[in-house]
């Protein structure tokens, strides 16, 4: 299998706080990896390092054969191929939905406006809200906003998608509509790294589960093994807390 992301002994500190400790991770093309763990365990930081929203201080991160360094050219190449969806959606509130989506194709890919808007409409249909195209983000529900955010990422045609707790800021009744879009995306073969506590989603979609605690990957296993036969006590404790509430 083709390896698309490699993390090798990645370490990161926020001042004195050692947030990532010797992270090793390999992602192959088409793989869906779900990362879970208690808050403060470094899971968000890890995926934010993959598109350089955070810089790591030690170790190597290679995406599609390009190593992430301070070289801005490499960062640009990687960001064009890696999409990201945030917990807080982060839509641009002063732009309409369709402008939010077509912005990056127009300015980063230098696509003609009309073509970019057609692409934007295609992805809006894909996330099932084409009728919202000309509204502003503030007029949409949280679930709709997050689907726009996913469409905005997809419009750049990335081959890897990073999801940073995409449903954590949503009301319970809106979680499903977002997860449905993500499941559809997974079925189409997208390489996905998802930080989430939605264990139902993880069981449906994931090829690999990763459990992190205190900056380390504590356990990495298939969902079957992870849920039914976890090896570490820390994982067992976490699962018992998250599944029995």
């Amino acid at each position: 299998m083709e390896q698309v992301i490699q993390l090798e002994k990645v370490n990161k500190w926020f001042d004195d706080f050692h947030v990532l400790k010797d992270i090793d991770l390999t992602v192959t093309k088409g793989q869906k990896i779900v990362v879970c763990g208690p808050s403060g365990s470094g899971k968000s930081t890890m995926i934010r390092c993959i598109n350089r929203l955070e810089a790591h201080q030690k170790g190597h991160i290679v995406v599609h054969g390009t190593e992430l360094t301070n070289d801005l050219k490499n960062i640009d190449i990687i960001r064009k191929n890696v999409g990201m969806v945030f917990q807080q959606f982060n839509l641009f509130p002063h732009l309409s939905v369709i402008d939010n989506i077509s912005l990056a194709p127009i300015w980063v890919k230098k696509m003609p406006k009309k073509e970019a808007e057609e692409i934007a409409m295609n992805y809006l249909e894909k996330v099932k809200i084409p009728e919202q195209a000309h509204k502003f983000p503030g007029q949409l529900s949280g679930g709709q906003q997050q689907r726009v955010a996913i469409a905005r990422s997809l419009a750049m045609n990335p081959d890897i998608m990073l999801f940073d707790e995409p449903t954590s800021a949503l009301d319970p009744e809106m979680i499903k509509e977002v997860l449905d879009v993500m499941i559809q995306l997974a079925e189409e073969g997208m390489t996905m790294l998802v930080v989430t506590h939605e264990m139902g989603f993880a069981k449906t979609v994931a090829d690999q589960m990763i459990f992190m605690d205190e900056g380390r990957i504590v356990e990495q296993a298939t969902p079957d093994e992870f849920f039914n036969n976890p090896k570490s006590d820390r994982t067992k404790l976490f699962l018992s807390q998250i599944l029995n509430h």
Partner: protein
């Protein structure tokens, strides 16, 4: 019948409003009455002074007022009305300074074109906005050519400019030049590059820490020292440099306030999409930050517009300078109230206009994109 009932209904409404707001209690009633008496006294005095008892061009005997000795209040004891003739007599100076009379049409044309240049910038939902904006960029060149002269027009040195012309020139040009500079300063102050950041911080803090008068003196006296020998910018240009730098520092701080209100997540989302720093700044950060910063920006603009009157201390004749020159003239001396009330009124019209425009913008942007 029905119109009568509607009438009595509205009467009742006003009556209730008055009772509720003006006479709801003893104390309230007393204050209302005192305030009404005060308003009546002051208001009637002012109206009598400014209009009913005032001379405009002719005095109470019907003579054309040629100098201060013709004013009714200087002829007949007991007359106290304003003598507005000074404004008529000095009108050209108030508007144009010492601009040659036969060339004054050039200033008038420049003034007349100004609203068209501002139109496209101030309002966004207007027909042909694109062409208005083109005109806005063309306007400075037209204004320079018309006011200063060039091929086909005789040159008029800026030492001849004065009055409202100088006030508007310094106010509008100062604001227009300071705006882009202040955006760069505000961005620079938040930059991750230490040298750029410290240059911007030092510049802003230095300019804000010094009175405008000091800057004007500095520009007037010291600017020539920094320039190569033989280059001798005229007084008005020196004042413009000082005013622009002063305004840019204040506006930069207003804009920085707007920049700080933009959530970090927006910038991260733009970065994750692959937008460069300048694309993110232009497309994501500035449109939002400037919107938030409109009230403080307009605030600094109003402040600057009034502060332009300080240039009289370096020998420029702005509106206030012309007024003081008129008072120094023996034929018109001692008509202080008329001159200062008139100057106040002119400043007030422009500043009140800016203030109303800022309110309009805030209201409009609040309803936009809800």
């Amino acid at each position: 019948m029905s119109s009568l009932s509607i009438n009595s209904f509205t009467h009742k409404k006003y009556y209730n409003w008055v009772i509720r707001n003006l006479f709801s209690s003893w104390i309230n009633s007393i204050f209302t009455i005192i305030a009404l008496i005060f308003l009546y006294k002051v208001g009637s005095f002012f109206l009598n002074w400014a209009f009913f008892e005032a001379d405009f061009r002719y005095n109470f005997q019907g003579d054309l007022i040629l100098d201060r000795t013709f004013c009714s209040k200087n002829i007949k004891p007991g007359e106290f009305g304003a003598c507005w003739a000074i404004i008529y007599a000095r009108w050209d100076q108030f508007m144009y300074g010492f601009y040659p009379v036969e060339e004054v049409w050039r200033v008038n044309l420049t003034f007349a074109l100004l609203p068209f240049a501002l139109f496209g910038v101030l309002f966004d939902k207007i027909p042909f906005r694109k062409y208005f904006i083109y005109f806005t960029f063309l306007y400075p060149f037209i204004a320079y050519f018309m006011l200063y002269g060039g091929p086909g027009l005789s040159p008029v040195g800026t030492n001849k400019w004065g009055g409202l012309l100088v006030t508007l020139f310094l106010g509008i040009t100062g604001i227009a030049l300071a705006f882009p500079l202040s955006i760069l300063l505000a961005l620079g102050r938040r930059s991750k590059l230490p040298i750029i950041k410290s240059i911007c911080v030092v510049f802003i803090e230095f300019i804000r820490g010094v009175p405008l008068i000091t800057l004007l003196f500095t520009a007037n006296v010291m600017l020539p020292l920094f320039l190569p020998q033989g280059v001798n910018p005229d007084n008005l240009l020196r004042a413009l440099v000082a005013v622009t730098l002063f305004q840019s520092a204040y506006m930069a701080e207003a804009i920085r306030g707007g920049l700080q209100a933009i959530p970090k997540g927006h910038i991260e989302a733009a970065e994750a999409l692959g937008l460069t720093y300048w694309q993110t700044t232009r497309k994501i950060i500035l449109p939002q930050a400037l919107k938030i910063a409109i009230p403080p920006i307009v605030n600094t603009c109003i402040g600057l517009f009034k502060d332009t009157s300080l240039v009289l201390i370096i020998g420029l004749f702005d509106l206030l300078g012309i007024g003081r020159a008129a008072l120094a003239d023996m034929t018109w001396t001692k008509l202080y109230y008329e001159v200062y009330v008139f100057i106040s009124l002119v400043f007030f019209i422009f500043c009140f206009g800016m203030s109303r425009y800022s309110l309009y913008l805030e209201k409009k942007l609040k309803t936009d994109n809800s």
